[in-house]
Subunit: 318 residues, 4 copies
């Protein structure tokens, strides 16, 4: 048992393949991490969370556990109302995990957790009003208003991925059509590249050459690599993603008027390749652009750790 | 000078034709009102505001003045950054009015003021998280989060009328295209009715009969009257308005997750004729509808007084 | 061998489950029909076509065979360039069938064949310029210009189902987005009903009661039955289909300016339930509606036989 | 009176500022031209047409006169049903002009006339099936099918500018919304440039420098000049125009399946600056692109003379 650290908590990140747990101090530093494979059944996931927490906390005295969960988390920060990928429906996650480990548990939506992490320990430091979007496979978001995480009346605020960008648009897993996530996400980027490579293969030589030569064989990583090598289809695919991402940020500015936007998630790892066109599109669509102060559009700093660090801090606050 | 009232303030509402000032007590009761015609030049408007305040306060001891102004108000609640109809650009409204009257002045966006009025004294009482939309000639909005008016980092939050509902859609006065206001407002309702009456006059007999028989002669009041008499085009026009209003509320639920929506403005005076289809459309588009608590959609109670009462209360708070 | 009939030809209709062949006279009367199950491999389909032709012609002297095929047929009316469901790619259908039967063969797109059938023997009689849409599972079309089937330079004209109705809209099997077929077809009707029943089950009581009570359990036939019984969701689903179908017809009027539109396919079997709202939507969107003659919108008369009769006649013409 | 020419006819082009009449021979060569200013009242326009015809024919023996008119021309090629700019409504143009000059007169829609000119004497020579779009201030079109001008049942076919590209899109002068003309025309190009220059003036330095420095001061000619000098906003504005123009051509390919597209009008004068991105967008959206022959997309050759030469030839045919 290591002494000398006050206020350590554990943050848990439930990913599609791995569940990660980390011991985090008050400065947002991760002292210890453990990972276990994500099981396929809900109850096994809960056991795995408990295992990861136990491993991570073996050497440290921790006060609380925060769990970042995909989907809707209720206003008690205890139950997951709905998670597409894990088939959780009104799952009492807090109770079930607390039964397995002897620590207080707080549940938070994973994108909210990531937003809080960036606000508290990342690029958002110094701002009070921050809107964060996480562009990974899908699109998630979190909002900080007046220095507080904005959870909404029922705990399900900031579901940015499902605002409607296109009436009668693309089908979404949520059952609606035209959701932002269908136009500004890693999946969308892949679709843009595949559609364009199919229609105009002559302009996608580099991109197609990185895979098996077919549009179907294009993978996400090929697109950024090809864009950096000047492939017109890859560049245009990023531009299309940015067109939608920036237009959405302009809407969020009309709604939330934050001091800063933070763009995180795997897509933001591409840096200016995607941030620069997002900023341009954002400025293009910002209402009253000449007469108002502009929020900055910042790249996230913490990468994949934002959620774990963020939810650990939220657990510390109780 | 009437005694016995503590904490009286004045609320000022700048309308297109009249400037109204009212003395309001802590319960939101209007004790006295005065009205002057709205002049056409900015400086004359300021003089008129001062006149209205003086008239209203002749009989009462008041502590402060709140002014609800159209357009963007800055984070100091002092300057109007931009107002389409009055050609105000970075107008120091607070200073100019304070020079004319010997009272502290607070400026607030008029739709924010109306939202606050309904939250504090109207149908929003008892809720902490409220999103209010005001469907008048245009569409405005205001948000209460955790019992506080949400102004944003720069004072320009809740500009709901200008979120993009239709990519490449209708031109808006703000310079963008596809703004919500172009699809869910009194002007939109009129356009729906005129387009439909032109295309299918056989189904618009009642509606056309209320005016001069032409589509151009249709006025807003005809549409509600005709709808109540069963005119198919008028009913369909309300339904179209509601389709867009409800879809927007569903987006706002994903973003703000309020406990209640309040629908105010002249269009809400039509009651269930418009509220019922708005609720249906809202439910139709609400993401994850089966797995989450639903915010109520309520009709505003205070009518045209919401802004005046609201901004008077905001002035009281300093 | 029956004598006395001059100019008999055979029409073949390749359906998803059955291949039908019919001996047809110059008046469009079907004298004899045979059906065989549709095999799953391309070559077996060709054998089955030959079998069906032989059966049908056992008793009659026929001069030629016409085959209505799904997909793109080339300008020689010999080869199928592309068929989604049968994996035909540049398939020399004419040659292969002629090798098996000793008769001249003509290939035609099936929706073109149906259009010709209705024009020549159905509701289109008396018109020279006709645009026909076939709303079945998908949406197909055919055009008669100046009394001739309009095949285009390369044989692939009148692919109406794939004009873009919604930029960035629904994904289509063709690889594009927003195709008309995704909004005005039997599949679209089912989607409308399921989405609405999920979002507002209270308004879909009759509809849900016809199946297993779930949205997923809704079938196409339930929707028309429920609509006839007054189910609001079923009625609204037909209205939505009609909204898109009519808007598309208005576009086709701007492009082709026909004397009549014919609406066929399974959906048209519902009669005025769907035809009436299609006509209204068409009139709503027709450009210059007050200043131009209007094409009639007619229901097809021949039902499922239009294609077989049409392609038999096209074969007769050589 | 010059002898030796057989089959001369006169073509008349009614422009916004000038009415041009030209004597044209069977090869499409213009032998003589006269111009008069376009008057503002309908009857004066008819007088001016007669004057221009008299002047042009002073030296030549002509057999007939063709007049290219904006708007809907009826199936008798005699009456203008509807013209926005000249307030003609069911105007008996043929009769009125024939009363003033002693020659047979044929009326044709001006974009149809231009299409015929390019088909007969321009870049369309050698094709039988041609679709022509004319991108000027607005967007017009004409179709040649099997070597004949396709006029439709009522004379109003090929009104390409008014097919709906965007549901709930921009208002059009025709009363509808989302018409192609609002997205692919000279007016649209100007809007694109002005919107972008307002939103991102830093990227429009060259463009703004060609006018008075404001977005409002941008003119059409500045955009092409700035684009050639590398101005990002000007280039992007052309790309946006091309995005919509090409997507529309892809739809027309699904409908008409021509052997060639011809792009004419003032915008086509920019050559590959606009043709190249139009071709790319066309290929991007062409359905079944890998399995079908592709129509070429050609630049018009005759420039502003196409309509005059075309309508003269149509008059020759009687």
């Amino acid at each position: 048992m290591t002494e000398g650290h006050m206020g350590l908590t554990i943050g848990v990140d439930i990913g599609g393949t791995k569940i990660a747990a980390g011991v985090v101090d008050e400065e947002g530093t991760i002292l210890e991490t453990s990972k276990v494979a994500t099981p396929s059944t809900p109850d096994a996931v809960i056991d795995a969370i408990a295992d990861a927490v136990r491993q991570a906390s073996a050497e440290y005295q921790v006060d609380a556990v925060g769990i970042g969960a995909p989907g809707y988390v209720d206003d008690k920060r205890a139950n997951v109302l709905f998670t597409p990928n894990l088939s959780w429906r009104h799952e009492p996650l807090k109770d079930k995990v607390e039964q397995r480990i002897d620590l207080p548990v707080v549940i938070e939506n994973d994108a909210n957790a990531a937003a809080w992490g960036e606000y508290k320990f990342g690029v958002g430091t110094g701002h009070d009003d921050v809107v964060c979007i996480t562009i990974g496979t899908g699109l998630g978001g979190g909002t900080i208003i007046g220095g507080k995480l904005h959870r909404g009346r029922f705990g399900v605020a900031a579901e940015f991925g499902h605002i409607r960008m296109v009436p009668d648009g693309l089908l979404c897993g949520c059952g609606n059509q035209g959701c932002w996530e269908q136009y500004a996400s890693g999946r969308a980027l892949l679709r843009y590249a595949q559609q364009r490579a199919t229609a105009t293969p002559d302009s996608a030589g580099i991109l197609l050459g990185l895979g098996d030569g077919t549009s179907e064989g294009i993978e996400g990583k090929h697109i950024s690599q090809a864009a950096r090598q000047g492939d017109p289809v890859a560049i245009d695919s990023f531009r299309e993603l940015a067109r939608w991402a920036g237009a959405g940020l302009a809407d969020l500015a009309s709604l939330f008027d934050p001091g800063a936007f933070i763009v995180g998630g795997g897509v933001s790892d591409e840096g200016e390749l995607v941030l620069d066109p997002i900023r341009k599109s954002y400025r293009r669509w910002l209402v009253g652009s000449r007469w108002r102060p502009h929020a900055e559009v910042l790249a996230a700093q913490l990468g994949g750790k934002a959620g774990l660090v963020g939810v650990a801090d939220l657990a510390r606050q109780g």
